[in-house]
Symmetry: C2
C-alpha cells in the first residue's frame, strides 16, 4: 500500500515537474526563436550595407533632414507664422526624400508645383462657390471636388503622365480637396493656402539641399554604370563561352558553376530599373561629366539592345553541351569559327563597355566586329563547301546550332556598337588618347594567331586580313587608356585646377533645370 502511494506520488511529482519544465521551455523557445530572427536580420542588414554603403548614408540623411525640418517647431515661437501648417514641412520631407537626387528633385518639384496650382485652383473654386450664397456652397464645392478628383484620377492612366507626373497629379487632388473643403469653415482660405505652400516649399528645399549637399546619389551616374555593366557582362559571357563550351570535360566535372557565365541573367530583368533611373536622371542638374541635357534616352536604347542580345544568349547558354571527346575535322573547324566569333564579339563588347565607363569614344571596336563577321562568313563557307561525308548530322547539330545562334548575337553586337557610337557623339565623349608605343610582344601574338586561323578557311577575300591585323594592334594601343573607371573620371574632373569652374557650371545647370522644369509645368 505504501509502495503504491509512493509510486502515485512519484508520478504526480514527475508530471508536475514536466509541466513546469514545459511551461519554462515554451517562452524560452520563443525567446530563442526571436533571438535567431534578430541575428538573421542583423546579418542581412550587414550584407545590405556592405553591398552598397550609400544605403547607410541615405538612412542617416533622411534622419538628418527630418530632424532639421522639425527645428521649425522648436524655434518657431507659439506656432509662429505657419500655424498648424508647420507639420506639412515634416510631412513633405518624409514623403519626398528618395534614394537618388533625381527622384528627390522630381518628387519635390512635382509636390511644390502641384501644391501651388492645386491651392490656386481651390481658392478660385472657393470664391466661385461663395457667389450663390450659403446653402448652395457645400453642394457646389462637393461637385467641384468630385469632378477634379475623377478627372485627375483618369489622367493618371496616361502612360506619359504616369511616368513623370503621377505624384504631381496625386498632390494636386490632395491640395485641391483639402483647401476647397477646409475653406468652407475657415474664412481665411487664402492665408491657409499660402501657409501650406510656404511650409511645403520649406520641406522641399530642406530635402533637396540634404539630398544634393551630403554624398549625393546621382541616378544618372547609376544608369551610366548599369548600362556599361550590362554590356560588360555580355562581353564576359561571349569571351568565356566558347572556350567553356567546347572544352572536353574531365570525369564528373560540371560546367554550370561558372559565375561569369551567369552574370548576364540580371540583364533579362533590368529594363524597369533602367527606365526609372532614366526618368529620375532627367530631373538632375549636371554632375561629374553629365550635363543637364545628357542623352539619357540613348542609354535606354543601349540597355534594350543588351536585353535583346541577352535573350539570345539565354537560348545559347541553355543549349545542351555536346559531349564530343574527339571531334572530327569538320567539327573542329566549325568549333574554331565559333570560338573566333564569340571571342571577338566579346572583346568588342568589353571595349564598348570600357569606353562607356571611361566616357571616351570607342576607337578600337570595329576591327573586333569585322573579325567576328569574318568568322561568321567562314562558318557559312564551311557549311556550304564541305558536304558531309560520313558525318553524323545529330553529332554535328549542337555545334552548328551554337554557331548559327552566335551569328545572330553578332548582329546585336553590331547594333549595340552603333548605339554606343551615337551616344559618344551625342554626349560629346572625349577622344581616347592612343598610347605612344604599343607593347610589341602581345600585339604580335594575336594577329599572327588570327591570321593563321583565317588562312585555314581558304576562299576568303584579302583586305579583311589586313583590317584584322591593324585592329588587333590598335586595341592593344588603346587598351590601357580605356581601362579607367568612371569614378576615376568623375574624381579626375574635380581636381583643384577646375573645381571652381565645376561649381559655376553646377549652379548654372541647376538654375537652368529649375526654370526648365517650371516652364514644363506651366
Amino acid at each position: 500500500m505504501i509502495f503504491l502511494w509512493k509510486w502515485n506520488l512519484w508520478i504526480v511529482i514527475r508530471e508536475r515537474a514536466g509541466l513546469i519544465a514545459r511551461g519554462w521551455r515554451w517562452p524560452w523557445g520563443l525567446i530563442e526563436k526571436f533571438w535567431d530572427k534578430v541575428v538573421e536580420a542583423a546579418r542581412k542588414a550587414k550584407k545590405l550595407g556592405q553591398e552598397d554603403p550609400r544605403r547607410i548614408i541615405h538612412s542617416l540623411k533622411v534622419g538628418l533632414a527630418i530632424t532639421l525640418v522639425s527645428l521649425i517647431y522648436y524655434f518657431n515661437p507659439a506656432y509662429g507664422d505657419f500655424g498648424v501648417s508647420t507639420m506639412w514641412a515634416v510631412l513633405t520631407v518624409v514623403v519626398i526624400f528618395e534614394f537618388s537626387v533625381g527622384a528627390t528633385l522630381g518628387r519635390g518639384l512635382n509636390r511644390g508645383l502641384a501644391t501651388l496650382l492645386g491651392g490656386a485652383l481651390a481658392v478660385g473654386a472657393h470664391y466661385l462657390a461663395h457667389l450663390p450664397g450659403r446653402p448652395a456652397q457645400p453642394i457646389i464645392l462637393g461637385i467641384f471636388v468630385f469632378l477634379v478628383a475623377a478627372a485627375l484620377s483618369f489622367l493618371r492612366f496616361f502612360p506619359k503622365l504616369k511616368a513623370r507626373y503621377d505624384y504631381a497629379l496625386l498632390i494636386f487632388i490632395l491640395t485641391f480637396s483639402l483647401v476647397a473643403v477646409t475653406g468652407y469653415r475657415d474664412e481665411e482660405v487664402l492665408e491657409l493656402a499660402q501657409q501650406r505652400l510656404s511650409t511645403v516649399l520649406i520641406g522641399c528645399a530642406t530635402a533637396m539641399l540634404v539630398s544634393i549637399g551630403i554624398c549625393p546619389v546621382w541616378a544618372g551616374y547609376d544608369l551610366h554604370k548599369l548600362v556599361a555593366g550590362d554590356v560588360d557582362k555580355l562581353g564576359n559571357f561571349l569571351e568565356g563561352f566558347s572556350e567553356e563550351y567546347f572544352r572536353v570535360l574531365d570525369e564528373g566535372e560540371s560546367k554550370d558553376n561558372k559565375t561569369f557565365l551567369q552574370g548576364y541573367k540580371s540583364i533579362l530583368t533590368s529594363k524597369n530599373t533602367e527606365d526609372s533611373l532614366a526618368n529620375f536622371a532627367r530631373w538632375e542638374p549636371g554632375h561629374g561629366c553629365f550635363r543637364f541635357h545628357h542623352p539619357w534616352k540613348q542609354y535606354q536604347k543601349i540597355g534594350s539592345l543588351a536585353g535583346q542580345c541577352a535573350y539570345r544568349i539565354e537560348a545559347l547558354s541553355s543549349y545542351p553541351h555536346s559531349h564530343i571527346q574527339a571531334p572530327t575535322e569538320i567539327q573542329s573547324k566549325i568549333q574554331e569559327a565559333c570560338t573566333n566569333m564569340s571571342t571577338e564579339s566579346g572583346k568588342a563588347l568589353k571595349e564598348l563597355a570600357s569606353a562607356i565607363k571611361s566616357v571616351t569614344k570607342p576607337c578600337s571596336v570595329d576591327p573586333h566586329i569585322v573579325n567576328s563577321k569574318i568568322a561568321a562568313e567562314s562558318l557559312k563557307w564551311l557549311l556550304k563547301t564541305h558536304f558531309c561525308e560520313d558525318v553524323d548530322l545529330l553529332e554535328l547539330m549542337p555545334t552548328a546550332v551554337v554557331g548559327s545562334l552566335l551569328v545572330e548575337v553578332i548582329t546585336y553586337v553590331e547594333k549595340i556598337a552603333e548605339s554606343v557610337h551615337d551616344l559618344s557623339s551625342l554626349a560629346h565623349f572625349k577622344d581616347a588618347k592612343p598610347e605612344p608605343e604599343p607593347e610589341p610582344k602581345s600585339t604580335l601574338e594575336q594577329p599572327q594567331k588570327l591570321q593563321q586561323t583565317i588562312q585555314k578557311f581558304s576562299g576568303m577575300d584579302g583586305p579583311h586580313h589586313i583590317i584584322t591585323i591593324n585592329g588587333s594592334l590598335s586595341i592593344k594601343a588603346s587598351g590601357t587608356v580605356v581601362n579607367a573607371t568612371s569614378t576615376d573620371v568623375i574624381k579626375g574632373s574635380k581636381t583643384k585646377s577646375n573645381q571652381r569652374h565645376m561649381r559655376h557650371v553646377f549652379i548654372r545647370e541647376f538654375i537652368t533645370m529649375v526654370f526648365f522644369s517650371i516652364s514644363k509645368f506651366l
Copy 2:
C-alpha cells in the same frame, strides 16, 4: 517721281499689312496648336477608356470616396470631435485609393496599423523625453526622431519588407515624427494621437468600402487572367509558327505582319506586373472562385516559366526565314517533324490556358505533350540515320536550328504543364466534365493524319502510336467544356441560388483576412 513715291507707299502699306497679319497669325497658330493637342488628348483618353472601362469607373469611385469623406467637414459642427485632424481623413482617402482592391486594402491596412504603432511609440517617446525636464526635452526628442527615421529608412531596403510593408514603414516614420514633434508644444499629445488615428481609420474604411462595394477590381482575378493569357499567347505562336515559317512565299510577300506571331512579346516584360499583382492579391479576401489563401505564388511560377519559354521563342522568331522553294526529301521530313512539334506543343499550351481560364483541371494536355515529344524523337532519329548525301549543310541549317530550338521549347512546355497541374491541385480546380459522345468525324481525322505522319518515321517504338490516338480523342472529348471564359465562371457562381451563401463566405473571408493581416503586423 510720283511713280517712285507711289511705289514706296505701296511697299510700306504691304509691310504694315504683313506685320498685322503676322501679329494675328501668331496667337491664332498657338490656339490651333493648343486645339490640336486637346483633340489628340481626347482621342487618347477615349482609347484608354475603351481598352479598359474599369479605368473610368475607378476615376468616378475616387471622386465619390473623396466627396463622401469630405462630408465630415460639412456635417461636423465647428470641427466637432476631430479638430484639425479631420483633414487626415481626406488625405488618407486620396493617398490609399488604388486601382485594385488588393492594392487599396494593402495600403489601407499598412497605413492604419503604422499610424497606430507609430502614434503609440511617439506618445511613449514624448513621456520619456518629459522626465529629465524642459531644457533637455527637444534634444532627446530630436535624437529619437533621428534614430527612428534613420533605422526605418534603412529597413526599407530589405527586399521582403520593401515588397509588402514599404508604405507602412513610411507612414510609421511620418506619424512618429509628427506626433513626437507636435507633442512638444501641444500638451494634449494623447488626444492628438487618438484624433489622428480615428480620422485615418475613417479614411481607410471609406476607401475600402467604396473600393470593394462598387464594381471591385480584383488584382487576383487580373493575375489569373494575365497568366492564362500569357500561356495562351505562347500556344498561339507555336500553333501558327511552323505553318507560317515553312510556307513558300509568294512574290513580294512579307511574313512579319502576323499579329499572332507578335503577341508573345508582351510576356518578355510582364514579370514586374505579375509580381505586383501577386503582392496585391495576397491582401484580398475571397472573391469569385478564389479564396483568401489562393496559391498566388504558383501563378508567379507559371508566369516566370512562360517568360523563360518566351526568351526561346524570341530567338526562334527572329531566326531568318529559309527561302527554300523546293525542299529535298530530308528537308521536308525535318519540316514535318518541326511542324508536329510546334503544333502539338502549341495545342498543349492552349489547353493549359483554357484550363486555367475556366478553373478546371487540365485533362487532355498530356497526349499533346507526348505527341510533341514523339516528333522531337523522330527529328533526332532522322538526323541520326540519314547521312546526308549531296545535301548542302548551309541550306539544311535553318530548318535544323529551328528544330533544335523547338526541342528546347518543348522542355519548357512540359515544365509549364507540371506547374499548371500543381496549381490545379493546390487551388482545388474543378474536374472537367467529359462530353458524353465525342464527335466522330473530327476525332477520326486527326489520329489518322498523325499516324500517317508517324508511320513515315520508321524505327519508332509502338506504344507511342496508341497514346497519340487516344490523346486526340480525349482532346476533342473535352474541347467544348474548357472553352468557357473565367468571367462566365465568376458570373455563374453568383447565381441567385447560392448568392446568399457567397455573401456569407465573403464576409467570413474578409474578417479572417483582417485578423490575419493584423496578426502579421503585431
